[in-house]
Symmetry: C2
Subunit: 321 residues, 2 copies
């Protein structure tokens, strides 16, 4: 028997049966918008999953079901206020799928699912204490401490993208506050730093050939990989901010490692040295030179579904113990 | 049967049998320095505890043993590098007491024991998510998330006294870094703020009648309680710094409450409003107006021993589940 991971997106809902080592045994997808209600979606996923399981020659009944979805509350098992989904909120999605599949079912938010996936199948395999930082459109995080993915009172533990870096960090964040890590380490944060550097000097850069409004983190990474000093400096500055933030985060959960995931994290090799230097320069002696910096090793396209399956696996195991 | 709490101090080792509601049924102490080795100490505690149990008419065999001691590593169960104790380090104290009492035994550090005590018997009773801040000579913390006291990779989770407040906070900390919460919220931090305010103006204050080097947080609190504006401002500033720090901490563990404990926390009523205002002004919307600020309700003199007993209780229960 296998673990079912389900990733509910605005357009499609993908699913996969995953074995304990993280291999996908069977998979498929159904259109999310084609379902008249969450019940209809669960029914459609069940039919498609049963078919996929049958074709792969495995039992369609999973050991556990893990669901990833936007605006997930892992405590209540509900989707709350998801504007990308065509049904009214709250949606008791864990209950609905639990009844449909007759298996223990959990709902995980993006960062928590990513942390679970990394712990079960990825770069954090075997670690009981680490912080997962997802650097993408936003900056999210999942904190694993003493072997558990932290949830907190209402499922909002680990919003490290919105820890303020303090005075001297003045960029305005989408959350309405100033100086959040997200303003510096997200995709738009990297672009903002690039624009700042372009404005600060006349240093040559292929980035000057692009419309400013078109510049992406990928453009900056490409220029850096070609050796452009200005682009390299963008990632050094980004890394320095991340490292300074991590020095504080260590004092919360005493982690063995920080795992970097997401679009901006593809430039991890360009930031690694700056992160390390800023982290060690600012960290309390108890944690000095003890925290590994790791790049996610989950396949990007399947990370969400593997993370969802892993969240289900973990919940299933902790119920048994 | 009862839970045994033991507090190993440099001078004396105190112990108490505690019932599930936190009542002390029997208690006693032995001189720490009188013991030739940790084994001799365990033996002396066992003899004294057996006698105390007999006098109280209860079984001397406890359900669990919880030990609080300086420089405790709750992961290894060892005391490591405690200069206040007369024996060479590391000391496998949990093992030694476990054999002596033939009961499950855990070693807890000060802040984790305080958090356990508050959760079992004090202001955080019934809460599964809270942060315990101990404001004393230093600033320590214990983080309870999803019902567990966080330990981390090497037992150093929750060193929130040494999270830097960022640029603009320039006081030098005993840890060698700058701007740690401890520099502002500890006993010496409160005194430093008082001295700053005394130097900043000629505002009247009974604190001016004291030698600067003799001023204690208690003096400042007394002046504040008598309505001295300068002394009141000391606690407003202290509270504002604590509140700003808490706004960041919330993003880690999504707590329901923060519990304040320790000598400086006796002035909690003088800081409460400033903490609340600064916290709400700086916090992410997800946590706004949701976090209770509570003063410890454990009896100060027995807090260490009740905390140790509670840490043993919790470990005992999580092993059974």
């Amino acid at each position: 028997m296998y673990y079912l991971g389900i990733d509910i997106g605005g357009t499609n809902t993908e699913f996969a049966y995953v074995d304990p080592s993280g291999c996908i045994i069977a998979r498929g997808k159904v259109p999310t918008r084609g379902a008249a209600s969450p019940l209809h979606l669960a029914n459609a996923v069940h039919s498609a999953a049963s078919l996929a399981a049958e074709e792969a020659g495995i039992s369609p009944t999973p050991l556990s079901v893990g669901i990833g979805a936007p605006c997930s509350n892992p405590i209540s098992g509900q989707i709350e206020g998801a504007t990308d989904l065509p049904w009214p909120s709250p949606i008791p999605i864990a209950d609905i799928f639990q009844k449909q599949f007759n298996a223990p079912t959990v709902l995980a938010n993006d960062a928590n699912a990513a942390a679970a996936g990394e712990m079960q199948f990825g770069a954090a395999k075997g670690l009981r204490n680490f912080i997962m930082l997802t650097l993408g459109t936003g900056v999210g995080s999942g904190i694993v401490c003493d072997g558990n993915v932290l949830l907190g009172s209402r499922g909002f533990a680990g919003e490290l993208g919105h820890v303020s870096l303090g005075r001297g960090f003045s960029r305005l964040c989408s959350c309405g506050r100033k100086g959040c890590l997200q303003c510096y380490a997200s995709a738009s944060g990297v672009v903002a730093t690039a624009l700042e550097l372009l404005a600060e000097s006349d240093a040559p850069s292929s980035l000057r050939d692009l419309e400013q409004s078109d510049i992406t983190p990928k453009d900056v990474a490409l220029a850096a990989e070609e050796g452009n000093e200005l682009a390299l400096e963008v990632f050094r500055r980004t890394g320095a901010v991340i490292g300074e933030a991590l020095a504080s985060y260590a004092a919360f959960s005493d982690p063995d490692a920080v795992v970097f995931f997401g679009g901006v994290a593809r430039a991890f090799p360009l930031m690694h040295k700056a992160i390390r230097e800023a982290m060690e320069a600012n960290i309390l002696f108890l944690y000095k030179n003890r925290i590994k910096l790791l790049q996610s090793s989950l396949p990007g396209a399947d990370a969400a579904i593997l993370g969802a399956a892993a969240a289900g696996m973990l919940a299933c195991r902790s119920n048994q113990s």
